[in-house]
Structures are given as structure tokens and as C-alpha cells.
């Protein structure tokens, strides 16, 4: 009998193989949706199924939520891409063969991410994450335009270096654990390592954490390791941008947090908090300023993703139940909101036939409904009520101010600078006299609306179950 | 009890009537003094009465562009000034109406009259009306802060802003001659000159267009309306004179519960002081020239400085600071 945690990995991998075999992109698209739905079901099943700490897999409050979000966004993205990608065929940007490849890769990527999430083995986690990364590299290059190839190439090189560094960190963790837990599997099993952290050698842990921070931080998109992120978002297919921002960054951060917990378990070791605070703030402020000069709408929102990852890393660096809770909440809210933004951007790009801000004007005149949805999504990511991001930013800023008033000024400054840019772009795109063509949009708006509804609900009411998970996860994070 | 009330009421009525009655005389005195000092015979003392009577006899000519506001304003202005005048203790303090408002309200009432006059000046839509109104309002912005500081000094000294209270305080200790009070007296005099459009702020007898302030506002008025405006400005002058008197030379003023005799004494004293003040005004006006409009800030600024110093001194004399 297959278990839920196995299902979330095996279903996508299986369907990846299947999709690779399926001819005809329409069928493939539908199959992709079905497979993602199945994975989503498995994710929900995982939510209700009991916790487990096995040799290879772990299921605790910390990662069930991630798996749930992962599978959910995977599902909605599949929905979106099913209605969206056909357009790419029509415009001749993709050939059916590539689309087949795309669908297979999509499932493989989902599987790898889930693998990284539920892995109790730091090696396995590494493998899953890097697999997902490499697949997205290929996806980014899908359009095979010079820009796409270059973005993929940049992504590929930076990511590979990150991979290597992360692996070195993993080796070091093993080295730290091996004398206590003995040779072999145990000293790579996360749960055991966590328990033994106190007796580990602080110096090695320091070394390990630094390599892991740089390695996985590259995938989180922390400045100055972020360079691949904007181009990858801008040049890849829109559904992939949604998945990158909504999921891959989260999974990388998840890995980072696991190791933070580990290092924090050894008081003698370097305190990861301040390092994460600094890197988070750097990313946050830097990305906020970078928003002003953007001309490409997808690259714009890619930078906003960097900004928000920075905020999360800052929050987790602050630590403590409240900040961790807020960080987790922000993580969930951001992946939902940002993916919905990329869906909306996909619509906009179809409506105006361009990704350049300069050619997008007066949407509220030509496409009122789309304009409203887009505006709501952007305002949501900007941290305005009644959306969930407001709740998380409220918690982060208030608790920071309560603990270190002057430190709180920096994230606030970054967010405000970013907000100025967001609002400027929002107004320019949806207001004013419309320019350029106004095509009909045939992509489905269900995923976008669904995400917005979820974020809205979270802003008004957080279900106790969710709160419970987050709270205990926050305790685990210390 | 009721008899008391009746007496009080009569006293109040008498006061209002007397102020109205004496106002033109005061103006006449000022003009006469000025005439004599400039080697002219000058108009008779009762000229003020004659002017008003003449104006009342004439028909009033309204500009086509004049609205209802233009016609109603004179009555309101006159009424407001008159009520304000009734608030100032003249020959007796603590008359039945004096309590109804304090200095702040008094200033505000005059301000209301001024605003109405300025509006009336703009109503017809001529350039001169505009000049007058804008300058009048500008001068007010200079005068009111100084006035506020004077009131503050009084409040510090006498512990009240009700005129009867202040008057009683100064009656009760007549020797309360303090530097701060002298200074605020100077300030109040300057403010009074500004408020009543006297030299050097404004020249009441000029009709040289560009130097007019008050006259420019009322340029379009004629007949009964003009009569009311003139009467109002005379009242205002009297009001300020008796304000100065009641604040800085209250001796002889009858206290709240004085009998008929006391009132008569007070009346005589007040009339004398009033006319003396008017005469002094005349002397002042011949001894100084009218200023250019944009030198006024300096002139009224002096009042402001006086009043401010007065307050600081009041703090000192009232003892501890901080």
C-alpha cells in the first residue's frame, strides 16, 4: 500500500514518464492537469495523514504545509498553462514536440521539489533540489531565442556553482555528524542530526552552514547571489516563472531553514541569525531599488520576489515564535500571490502582445476585469489589506520594532521604496489612455482568481489548523 | 430684586445710548484739535452729528452690480459694533451685559464686523473696493497677534479675561503700575490706531486713491448705508478709547454695585477721559505722517514686540519661571 508521502513524489515522476510518451500537446496538457490534480490530492492526503520520521522521508508540521502549497500551486499552474500554452503554439514560439517535453519536465520538476521537501536525508534533499533546478534551467531555455538561451546559460552556470557549494556543505554536515552517529546513513538523516547537533563540532558546523547558505542561497535568490533570477523569470514561459517564484524559491529556503535549525542546535556555533538578517536586508533593499529601472514586466516582478525572499530571510533571522510564524505565513502568502501575479502578467502579455511596460497602458479601459484582478494582485503583494501579505508584514514589522526599534527601520525602508515602484508601475499599466493593440485573452482566469481568494481569506481569517502547523513549525525553528 | 434688575437694565441701556451719543463728539474733538494745531478753525464739535444727519437725509445710490449683501452689511456692521461697544465697561463695570463675553469674544465681534465690511467692499466689483478689503485684512493679520499677547498679559496679571474683572482688579489696586502694563498699553495704543484706520496706518480724511484703506472699502456707499458705516467707525473709535480707559485708567469707574451717585461720578470721569483721549489722538495725528502700506508690518511689529516683552516681564514679576 502506497503512503501519502510516497504518492506526492511518485505520482509526478510516474506521470512525467507517461507524458514523455504521450503525443499531441492538447492531450498532454489535459494529462498534465490531471496528474497535477492527483498530486494535489496526494498533498491534501499528506496533510491529514499521520506524521512520520523514516530513514529517507520525514513528515512534520514544518513541511506538510510546504508540500500542500507546492502541490496546490503546481495544480493551478498546470491549469493555467493548459489554457495558456496553446497560445504559444499559435504564435509559433513553441513546437508541439517541445510542448510534450515541457509537460514531462513540468511533472519531473514537481516531483523533484516534493522529494526535496519530504526528504529526511540531507543528500536526498540536495539531489531533489538540484534536479528541480536543472530542470528549470532547461525550461527557461525553452523558447530558444538568444535571450532565452543566455538566461538559461547564466542560470546554468550560477546554479551549478551553487550546487557544488551546497554539496560541499552537505559533506561537511556529514563529517560533523559521523563521529557521533557513526558511518553511513544515520549521519545523513536529518532528524538524527538535529537531535545530535548539540554534540557536534561547532567549527565544522560554521563551515557547513556558510557553504549551504551560499549554495542554497543562490536558489533562494539572495543578493548578491540573485543574478540568474530576474532573467530566468523574464525569458522563461510564464507558467515556469510562476513556479519559480512561487515554489522553487520556497523549497530552497525550506532547505536553508532545515540547516539553520541544525546549526542553531549547537549554541557554540556561529549564530546564523545575524548573517541571515544582513543578507535578507541586503536583498530586500537592493531589490526594492532595482524595481525602479525595470522595463520588462516579468523581470520587474522577479525583483519583487527577491525583495520578499529577503524579507522572509530577515524574519527567520530575527527568530522567535512571532517572527518565525510571520515568516512562514509570508512564505505561503507570497507564493500564492506571486504566482497569481504571474498568471495575470501572462494575461496582460497576451492582451497587449508585449512584456514591456512602455507598451502597456490603460488596461482598465480596454480590459476592465483583468485590470481589477491585476491591480488586486499587485496591491496584495504590496502588503495592503484585505490580503494576507498585510498580516505577515504587520507581524514582522511590529515584532521587530518591539524587539529592536532601530533595526525595524531598514525593512520598513526597503518595503516603502519597493512600494513606491510597485504603485508607480501599477498606475502606469492600468490607468491612462490605452495604447497599442488590445487582443482578446483566452487564457483561463480561474487560477488567478482562486489564488487571490485564498490570499484574501488569509487576510481576514486564518484557519486554526494552519495556525497550528505554523505555530509548531515556528517552535521547531526556534 | 426686580427693582434692581430694572435699574441694571436701565443702566445698561443708558450705557449703550451714551456710547452711541458720545461717539460723534469724540470724533469731533479729535478733528477740532487737529484743525487748531494746524492753524485752522476747523469744523464745529458737533460736525459728526451733522454729517450723519445729512447722510440719512440723502437718497442712497447702489451700483448695478451690488447684491443683497451690500445692502444688509451696514446694518449688521453697525449692530455688531454696537454690541461690542456694550461689552466694554464705560462709566461702570459689571453692568448686566458685560459678562456676556470676554475680550477674546470682543475682538472676534469686531473681526466679524471687519470681515463683513471687507466683503461689502468686494461686492460691487471695483478695483478700489478690492484694494481696501485686501489691505484691511492684511492689517488685521498684523494687529490680532499683538492683541492676543496683550490679552495674555492681562490674563496673567488679573487672572481673568472678562473686562469687568480686569477693571475691578485695577480699581482694587490702583498702584499696580507695572512696566509690563505700560508696555502692553503702548501695544494696545498701536493696535487701536491700526484697527481704527488712523494715522499713521491709514488717513481717515484722505481720498487719494492709492493710500486709502478704510475709505476705499466704503467708496461705493452712500446715503443711509454710508451713515451707518460712519456711525459704526465712530463707535469703534469710542470703544477702543474706553477700552484703553477701562484697562489702564479705570480710576473713578463705578464698581459693579454702585448706586446712582457712583454711576454719575463714573460717568463724568469716563466722559472726561474719553474726550481727553480723543484730544490726545488729535495731537498724535498731527505730529506724525501716514506710512506707506508696506511699512506697516514694522509699525505694528513694534506693538507685537512690546506685548511680548510685557509677557516675559509679567512672568518675571509673577515670580517663578519653570
Amino acid at each position: 500500500m502506497i503512503e501519502a508521502y510516497q504518492a506526492v513524489v511518485l505520482v509526478p515522476y510516474g506521470s512525467a514518464v507517461l507524458l514523455a510518451a504521450l503525443p499531441g500537446y492538447r492531450v498532454g496538457a489535459i494529462a498534465n492537469v490531471i496528474a497535477s490534480a492527483a498530486t494535489f490530492a496526494a498533498g491534501l492526503w499528506l496533510l491529514v495523514s499521520p506524521q512520520l520520521i523514516g530513514d529517507y522521508a520525514i513528515v512534520d508540521e514544518f513541511n506538510v504545509v510546504f508540500v500542500a502549497i507546492n502541490t496546490l500551486v503546481g495544480f493551478t499552474t498546470a491549469l493555467f498553462s493548459a489554457s495558456y500554452i496553446g497560445h504559444e503554439i499559435d504564435t509559433g514560439r513553441l513546437s508541439p514536440a517541445f510542448l510534450r517535453f515541457y509537460h514531462a519536465m513540468f511533472q519531473a520538476m514537481m516531483g523533484s521539489m516534493n522529494l526535496a521537501l519530504i526528504a529526511n536525508n540531507i543528500g536526498l534533499m540536495w539531489v531533489g533540489l538540484e534536479l528541480a533546478t536543472l530542470i528549470t534551467v532547461v525550461m527557461v531555455g525553452l523558447y530558444r531565442t538568444p535571450q532565452a538561451i543566455e538566461a538559461a546559460w547564466k542560470y546554468f552556470i550560477l546554479a551549478s556553482v551553487g550546487i557544488s557549494l551546497a554539496f560541499f556543505g552537505t559533506i561537511l554536515i556529514y563529517l560533523a555528524g559521523q563521529p557521533i552517529l557513526g558511518e553511513g546513513l544515520p549521519s545523513m538523516t536529518w532528524s538524527l542530526l538535529q537531535a545530535a547537533a548539540v554534540r557536534m563540532d561547532p567549527a565544522i558546523l560554521d563551515l557547513a552552514f556558510i557553504f549551504l547558505l551560499i549554495g542554497y542561497g543562490t536558489k533562494v535568490g539572495l543578493a548578491p547571489l540573485h543574478a540568474w533570477l530576474p532573467d530566468a523569470h523574464a525569458e522563461g514561459p510564464t507558467p515556469i516563472s510562476a513556479v519559480l517564484s512561487g515554489l522553487l524559491l520556497n523549497v530552497a529556503l525550506y532547505a536553508l531553514l532545515r540547516f539553520k535549525m541544525l546549526v542553531a542546535g549547537q549554541p557554540a556555533a556561529l549564530d546564523p541569525g545575524p548573517i541571515m538578517i544582513v543578507m535578507g536586508l541586503v536583498s530586500l533593499v537592493f531589490a526594492a531599488f532595482m524595481l525602479y529601472q525595470r522595463r520588462d514586466i516579468k523581470r520587474f516582478f522577479a525583483y519583487s520576489s527577491i525583495e520578499h525572499m529577503g524579507l522572509m530571510v530577515f524574519a527567520f533571522g530575527m527568530g522567535g515564535p512571532l517572527a518565525n510564524f510571520a515568516g512562514l505565513l509570508h512564505m505561503a502568502m507570497h507564493s500564492l500571490t506571486k504566482s497569481s501575479i504571474f498568471f495575470a502578467v501572462g494575461h496582460v502579455a497576451q492582451a497587449k502582445g508585449t512584456q514591456r511596460f512602455a507598451e502597456i497602458r490603460g488596461l482598465s479601459v480596454t480590459h476592465p476585469r483583468l485590470a481589477v484582478a491585476f491591480a488586486l494582485a499587485v496591491l496584495a503583494i504590496a502588503g495592503l489589506p484585505p490580503f494576507g501579505v498585510f498580516a505577515s508584514e504587520f507581524l514582522i514589522l511590529t515584532t521587530t520594532f518591539a524587539r529592536q526599534p532601530w533595526l525595524a527601520l531598514l525593512p520598513a525602508f526597503g518595503l516603502l521604496v519597493g512600494f513606491g515602484a510597485l504603485l508607480l508601475r501599477l498606475q502606469d499599466t492600468i490607468f491612462g489612455e490605452p495604447v497599442g493593440p488590445a487582443h482578446r485573452v483566452d487564457a483561463s482566469s480561474v487560477p488567478m482568481v482562486l489564488h487571490l481568494l485564498l490570499v484574501l481569506t488569509a487576510g481576514l481569517y486564518l484557519p486554526p489548523m494552519l495556525v497550528g502547523w505554523f505555530r509548531r513549525a515556528a517552535e521547531l525553528l526556534g | 430684586m426686580t427693582r434692581d434688575l430694572v435699574v441694571q437694565f436701565l443702566a445698561q441701556g443708558a450705557q449703550m445710548f451714551l456710547v452711541l451719543l458720545l461717539a460723534p463728539l469724540a470724533v469731533g474733538v479729535t478733528r477740532r484739535v487737529k484743525a487748531r494745531l494746524t492753524r485752522r478753525r476747523g469744523a464745529p464739535l458737533i460736525q459728526g452729528y451733522l454729517d450723519i444727519a445729512k447722510l440719512l437725509r440723502k437718497e442712497s445710490v447702489l451700483a448695478e452690480s451690488a447684491s443683497w449683501l451690500f445692502r444688509t452689511a451696514p446694518y449688521l456692521i453697525f449692530a455688531l459694533t454696537r454690541v461690542a461697544a456694550a461689552l466694554v465697561p464705560s462709566f461702570a463695570s459689571g453692568l448686566m451685559f458685560n459678562w456676556a463675553a470676554d475680550v477674546v469674544a470682543l475682538v472676534a465681534l469686531l473681526g466679524a464686523a471687519r470681515a463683513l465690511l471687507a466683503l461689502a467692499g468686494m461686492d460691487v466689483g471695483t478695483s478700489f473696493g478690492g484694494i481696501g478689503s485686501s489691505r484691511e485684512m492684511m492689517i488685521a493679520t498684523l494687529a490680532e497677534p499683538a492683541m492676543m499677547l496683550i490679552v495674555l498679559t492681562l490674563a496673567i496679571a488679573a487672572g481673568t479675561t472678562r473686562l469687568p474683572g480686569v477693571a475691578d482688579y485695577f480699581i482694587s489696586e490702583p498702584l499696580a503700575v507695572r512696566v509690563s502694563l505700560a508696555l502692553s498699553l503702548g501695544a494696545l495704543v498701536i493696535v487701536a490706531l491700526a484697527e481704527n484706520a488712523r494715522i499713521p496706518v491709514d488717513n481717515p480724511i484722505t481720498h487719494l486713491e492709492l493710500t486709502m484703506v478704510h475709505e476705499a472699502m466704503v467708496l461705493e456707499y452712500s446715503g443711509r448705508h454710508l451713515a451707518l458705516i460712519e456711525a459704526a467707525s465712530m463707535l469703534k473709535l469710542t470703544l477702543y478709547l474706553s477700552l484703553l480707559i477701562c484697562l489702564f485708567a479705570p480710576f473713578g469707574m463705578a464698581p459693579a454695585s454702585a448706586g446712582l451717585v457712583g454711576w454719575l461720578v463714573g460717568l463724568v470721569a469716563w466722559t472726561a477721559k474719553l474726550l481727553l483721549g480723543a484730544a490726545l489722538l488729535g495731537v498724535w495725528e498731527v505730529s506724525i505722517a501716514k506710512m506707506r502700506v508696506f511699512r506697516l508690518p514694522d509699525f505694528v511689529g513694534v506693538a507685537f514686540v512690546f506685548a511680548f516683552i510685557a509677557i516675559l516681564l509679567a512672568y518675571l514679576s509673577s515670580g517663578d519661571i519653570g
Binding site: 543574478a227 | 468686494m122 471695483t126 451713515a227
Partner: protein
């Protein structure tokens, strides 16, 4: 409890109206009737609470986990609720008169009830999250209203600045509540009340609160958005923003400084007093020099907010020194001014809206003579103008009088800094009052009096009945509020006692029930009713007498104008020329005003020209400079987008090596 349900229902109605209007264009016309009904209900509940003084509390399982959404309607929120819903009611009635085809747009109507609901929610909220949630919702909905005329780049600029400033303010409030709640995160207000903050934290909280509420209320230098945003919105919305939303800002400050922050220290008083006084004077100087009718009104809003902050500051000072009666006088002054300003500012903005609707113009120099073309509006506007100029016996003067009384009591304060601040403050307030009179004489004189300067002004017509009713009601309130100042004050007495510890002498202590008494009747009394009575009697008597004794005949003729009248309306004094003396006296100091006259040489027939240049220093310092700095920095950093892969690797390598060296040196 029932009342709470009632208000909940009313809020639901508002939300429903919004929803309807979003869904169906036909439903747009339902918005204003529903909004009016809801406002009526809410106002009734608030009034009930204010009069009975009982406190309604409730909580909903939404909002932050474990805290939930706490609701509380005490006398303070009830009072502000009365203010707000009064405004909303008037504006909704005004909205009934809007032209269904032309004026009702899906960009305005759906957001109007949302805006109203958000403002009410701010008052109801009893926990930090709920408060800030609805606060920000208020900003958001009003932002959408400001940008309703989105094709106009100016209004886009205004709305951008507005929302950015609003979010800055909200961030400041986030800090304030963060400091109040403490690291434990006790976000509900009763938890906050339970423990007072340490002085250091209190200082930070107060500063943040001042920034947060000041930026919403338009405290200089946080004001710049207000004169841009308020006029940009449709006029009835401007009325709501200026007359009502600024009061929500005041509410926030009162709630934090008088309620949540615990017993005050005397120095808390200084920032609000000083900033408020500066704001009062500068706001009006801006106003008297501006030529746009609605912008003038917006600037005068800034002034009034400044005045209110001065009063609040004085109340804090008195209360901190245990001089509760002074605190009571100052607080009453503040609250009454909140009420009065909401009335006459709404009235004036509605009047401006009527003018705009009738003539299509907002520039004062393009109007004139409206007193004949739209007589009713002219009367209402006149009442508003006189009231806002703080002239007796209208309502503006009541609060002004009380404020002056509290200033006059200032010398009793022990702290030297406060005692020496007091005279300066008093002088500045007096200056502000005089400037207000000048400003509104100017506005009324150029817009309504004189002769029409343009065809539009000449062709103007009065507005529909509903709008006249709205304005008339407000004008009536301005008059009644002036006459019944004392009874109003005694209604507020319990509320004032709760938050200042003292109260005014009971309304019986004065000579008549209408006489307003500060401290005691021997010190200072103001009896509006009696004065008004005497003025009326006096003017009637004068009328009768004069008509009896004088020549009755009245002839219409051309204006005299010293003998050479000019029929052209261009010869009238314009708003700019009216402002000239004030510009010469004050503008040269405050705005570095310079006039350059270019006079053609004799014989040259070309026109002479007068150039006036003003410099807005606060804009330069607080807006232009930082904005430019951000953009410049953004440009500098932008090169990081265009590095080569190798350089990115260098960055990565540098990060790695730096961290490693940190690890190497730390033991």
C-alpha cells in the same frame, strides 16, 4: 450589544452597496440611498452610546489568530462616529442629486460605501490588527477615489503621492503599535492598556503616532499630498476626505496618546503643539496664495488639523501637570473643533462642488458674481466661510474661543519651555485666525461677489434640490453649533472627563444655560446665544429706526469707483491681487516670494507683465530631495543588472570568502 449588531448590519449594507455597484451598472444609483440609510443607522448608534456613555464590546473570530477581531464602541469612538456618519450622511444626500447619466461612474460609486465602512471600522477596532487593517483599507479605497479621473496625469501623480504617504503613515503606526504591544505581541487594546510603556518606548511610540496620524491629517511637513489628493477626487468625496477622514487621523492620535499610552509626561505636549502651530500658520499662508478653489479649501483643512493638534498638545501638557480643568478645556476645544470643522469643511467642499458643477471651473480668477447666479449656494457658502473664519456667533468661534482660553491658562504651567512656548503659540493661533478671515473673504469675494469674470460664471445656475438640502443642513448645523456651544460641551463632558480627568463647569454655572464657561464664570464667559440675540435686536432696531428717520429712496446707478468706472470685469480685484499685500508681508519670508515687473519702454505698446515666483521649501526638502535621491540610487544600482556572468561569480565568491573569513576570525 444590540446596537453593535445594528452597526454591523449597517456596515453590511455599505458593503452590499459596494458589491451591487461593482456587479451591475444599474445598481450605481442605489449606492447613495443605501449609504445614507447606513450612515443614519450608524450615527444613531454612535449618538446613543455617546449620550448614554455605556461601552459596547464584542469580538469576531476573524483577524489575527488567538486575538481575533476585537470591537469596542466607547464614548470616544462614538463621538468620532457621530462626526463621520454625519459627514457621510450629508455627502450621500448630496450624492442623490448627482446626474445619473453623467456623474455616476463605476469608478467612484462602488468605492464610496467601502470608504465610509472602512472609516467606521477604524473607530470600532479594538486591536492593533483590526485598527491598521481598516485604516489601510480607508487609504486604499480613497486612493481609488482620488484616481477616478485616471486619464488626467495630474490626478495620477496626486494619487501616487497620496498612497505612498498613506503607507508611510501606516508603517509609522505599525511601529507605534509594535512598541505598544511589546515583544510578546499583546495586540489587543485592553492588553496594551494593562501595562504602561517605558519612557524610551513611549517616546518612540509617540513619535511614530505623530508621524502616522500627522501624515493622514496633513501635519506639516507631512502635508504635501493633501492639497493634491483632496481636490483631485470628485467634490463630494473631497468633502468626505477633508471634512471626515482627517478626523479619523485625529481619532488615532487621541486613542494612542490619551488612552493606550498611559499617563502622559509633560514633554509629550511639545511636538504636537509646535508642529500644530506651524501647520496652522503655514497651511493658511499656502491657502491665501493659492488660486484653485478646492486647493484653498484643502490647505485650510491642514490649518484646522494643526489647530486641533495644538489643542490636543495643550491638553496633554495640562493633564501631565495634574491641571485637569485646563486639560478639560483644551480637550473640549479639540473635540468641538473636530465636530465643527467636519461640518463647515464638508459644507464648503460641497459648495465648491456645486460651483464646479455649475461653471466647470475651479480657478477663483475665472469665477465671480455667483451670488446672483446661484443664490442659495452662495448663502450656504457664506455661512461656511464665516464659520471657518471663527467669527461669532457661528460654530467655528466656539472651539476657537475655548482654545484661546486654554492658551490663556498656559502661563500656569510649571515647565519653563511650555510657559515660553505658550505666548508664541497664542500669537500664531491669532495670526492663523486673522489669516483665515482674510483667506475666506478672498475666496468668497472673488468667487461669489463682484461681477462674473467668465461666460461660464455668468451662465451658472443653482444645483439640484438634494444638493441644496445637504448644504443647507450643514449650514444650519454651523449656526446651531455656534449658538448651542455650551450644551454641546456639556454633552461631551463625560467623554472629556474620561480622557482628561477634569471637566468644564456645568452649563448651569453660567448666567444663562447657553453661556459657555471656561474654568469659572468669574474668569471667562462666552454666551453666543445672548450675543446673537442682542445683535439681531440691535440690527432690527437699527433697521426700523433708520427706515423711519431716513430718506427711503434708493437709486441704482453705475458703480462710482472714484469717478472712472470700467465696465470690463477684468478691472476687478482678482484673487491674486487680493493676496498681494499678504504675499508682500509674509510670502517674502516664508516662500521667498519675488515679484519681477517688466515694463515696456515708453512708446512701446507691448503689454507690461508681472512675474511672481514662490518657492515651496518644505516640498524641496521633504519630497523633491528624497525622491530624487531614491531615483539616483536606483540608477546607480541598476548597473548590477548588466554585469557579465563572470562578475556575478566574483560577487558569489566574494560573499563566500567574506563569510568564511568571518567564521575564521570569530571564536
Amino acid at each position: 450589544m444590540l446596537a453593535l449588531y445594528a452597526s454591523g448590519a449597517a456596515l453590511a449594507v455599505l458593503a452590499g452597496a459596494a458589491g451591487l455597484a461593482i456587479l451591475a451598472r444599474g445598481a450605481l444609483r442605489l449606492v447613495y440611498p443605501l449609504a445614507a440609510l447606513a450612515a443614519l443607522a450608524l450615527g444613531a448608534v454612535d449618538l446613543h452610546v455617546l449620550l448614554t456613555g455605556d461601552v459596547l464590546t464584542g469580538s469576531l473570530p476573524i483577524g489575527l489568530p488567538t486575538i481575533g477581531l476585537r470591537l469596542r464602541l466607547d464614548s470616544l469612538s462614538a463621538f468620532f462616529g457621530v462626526v463621520i456618519n454625519g459627514g457621510v450622511l450629508a455627502v450621500s444626500v448630496y450624492g442623490l442629486g448627482l446626474d445619473r447619466e453623467k456623474d455616476l461612474t463605476p469608478r467612484v460609486e462602488p468605492l464610496f460605501p467601502l470608504f465610509a465602512a472602512a472609516m467606521n471600522l477604524v473607530l470600532l477596532a479594538d486591536d492593533a490588527y483590526g485598527f491598521l487593517f481598516s485604516w489601510e483599507l480607508m487609504s486604499l479605497s480613497s486612493w481609488a477615489l482620488v484616481v477616478a479621473r485616471h486619464t488626467d496625469p495630474e490626478s495620477r501623480r496626486a494619487s501616487h503621492l497620496y498612497l505612498v504617504m498613506a503607507v508611510i503613515g501606516t508603517t509609522a503606526l505599525l511601529f507605534a503599535f509594535g512598541g505598544l504591544a511589546g515583544p510578546a505581541g499583546g495586540y489587543s487594546f485592553d492588553t496594551i492598556r494593562a501595562h504602561a510603556a517605558q519612557p524610551a518606548i513611549a517616546a518612540l511610540v509617540l513619535a511614530s503616532a505623530l508621524i502616522g496620524c500627522g501624515s493622514k491629517g496633513g501635519l506639516i511637513p507631512l502635508h504635501a499630498w493633501l492639497p493634491l489628493a483632496h481636490p483631485a477626487a470628485p467634490s463630494h468625496v473631497s468633502a468626505l476626505m477633508s471634512g471626515v477622514m482627517t478626523k479619523v487621523a485625529i481619532y488615532g492620535f487621541v486613542r494612542i496618546a490619551f488612552d493606550l499610552l498611559g499617563p502622559p509626561a509633560w514633554w509629550w505636549a511639545l511636538p504636537p503643539i509646535v508642529l500644530g502651530a506651524i501647520t496652522a500658520v503655514l497651511g493658511l499662508l499656502y491657502a491665501v496664495l493659492d488660486r484653485d478653489l478646492k486647493r484653498v479649501l484643502a490647505y485650510s483643512t491642514i490649518e484646522n488639523v494643526g489647530v486641533i493638534f495644538v489643542a490636543l498638545g495643550l491638553a496633554l501638557a495640562f493633564r501631565a501637570n495634574g491641571f485637569t480643568q485646563g486639560a478639560a478645556v483644551a480637550l473640549t476645544a479639540a473635540l468641538l473643533h473636530v465636530l465643527n470643522h467636519s461640518w463647515f469643511k464638508s459644507l464648503l467642499f460641497l459648495g465648491a462642488g456645486a460651483v464646479l458643477h455649475a461653471t466647470g471651473r475651479r480657478d477663483l480668477d475665472g469665477l465671480g458674481g455667483l451670488i446672483r447666479t446661484m443664490p442659495r449656494t452662495a448663502i450656504f457658502f457664506l455661512v461656511g466661510a464665516l464659520a471657518i473664519s471663527a467669527l461669532p456667533p457661528l460654530n467655528g468661534f466656539v472651539s476657537e474661543w475655548l482654545l484661546f482660553q486654554s492658551v490663556l491658562a498656559g502661563p500656569m504651567l510649571p515647565q519653563a519651555s511650555l510657559r515660553f512656548a505658550v505666548p508664541a503659540i497664542g500669537a500664531m493661533l491669532a495670526l492663523a485666525a486673522a489669516l483665515a478671515a482674510a483667506c475666506f473673504v478672498r475666496v468668497y469675494g472673488t468667487a461669489f461677489l463682484g461681477r462674473p469674470r467668465t461666460v461660464e460664471a455668468a451662465r451658472a445656475h443653482d444645483v439640484p434640490l438634494a444638493q441644496q438640502v445637504a448644504m443647507g443642513a450643514l449650514a444650519l448645523l454651523c449656526i446651531l453649533g455656534g449658538l448651542l456651544g455650551a450644551p454641546l460641551a456639556s454633552v461631551l463632558a463625560p467623554l472629556v472627563r474620561t480622557f482628561s480627568g477634569g471637566m468644564l463647569p456645568a452649563s448651569g454655572s453660567g448666567p444663562t444655560p447657553f453661556s459657555l464657561v471656561a474654568f469659572d464664570s468669574a474668569r471667562s464667559v462666552y454666551d453666543a446665544a445672548v450675543i446673537a440675540l442682542f445683535v439681531t435686536i440691535a440690527s432690527l432696531v437699527t433697521l426700523v429706526v433708520v427706515h423711519r428717520v431716513s430718506e427711503r429712496r434708493t437709486r441704482r446707478g453705475p458703480a462710482w469707483d472714484c469717478g472712472f468706472p470700467d465696465p470690463s470685469p477684468a478691472t476687478q480685484y482678482t484673487a491674486s491681487s487680493f493676496a498681494q499685500p499678504l504675499r508682500r508681508v509674509y510670502g517674502t519670508v516664508v516662500f521667498g516670494a519675488r515679484e519681477t515687473v517688466t515694463m515696456p519702454p515708453p512708446g512701446d505698446r507691448s503689454a507690461a507683465s508681472l512675474q511672481v515666483t514662490l518657492v515651496d521649501y518644505s516640498w524641496r526638502a521633504f519630497y523633491a530631495a528624497p525622491g530624487a535621491a531614491v531615483l539616483r540610487l536606483a540608477e546607480r544600482l541598476n548597473m548590477l543588472q548588466f554585469l557579465t556572468i563572470r562578475r556575478y561569480l566574483v560577487l558569489m565568491f566574494a560573499a563566500l570568502v567574506i563569510l568564511l573569513s568571518i567564521a575564521a576570525v570569530t571564536t
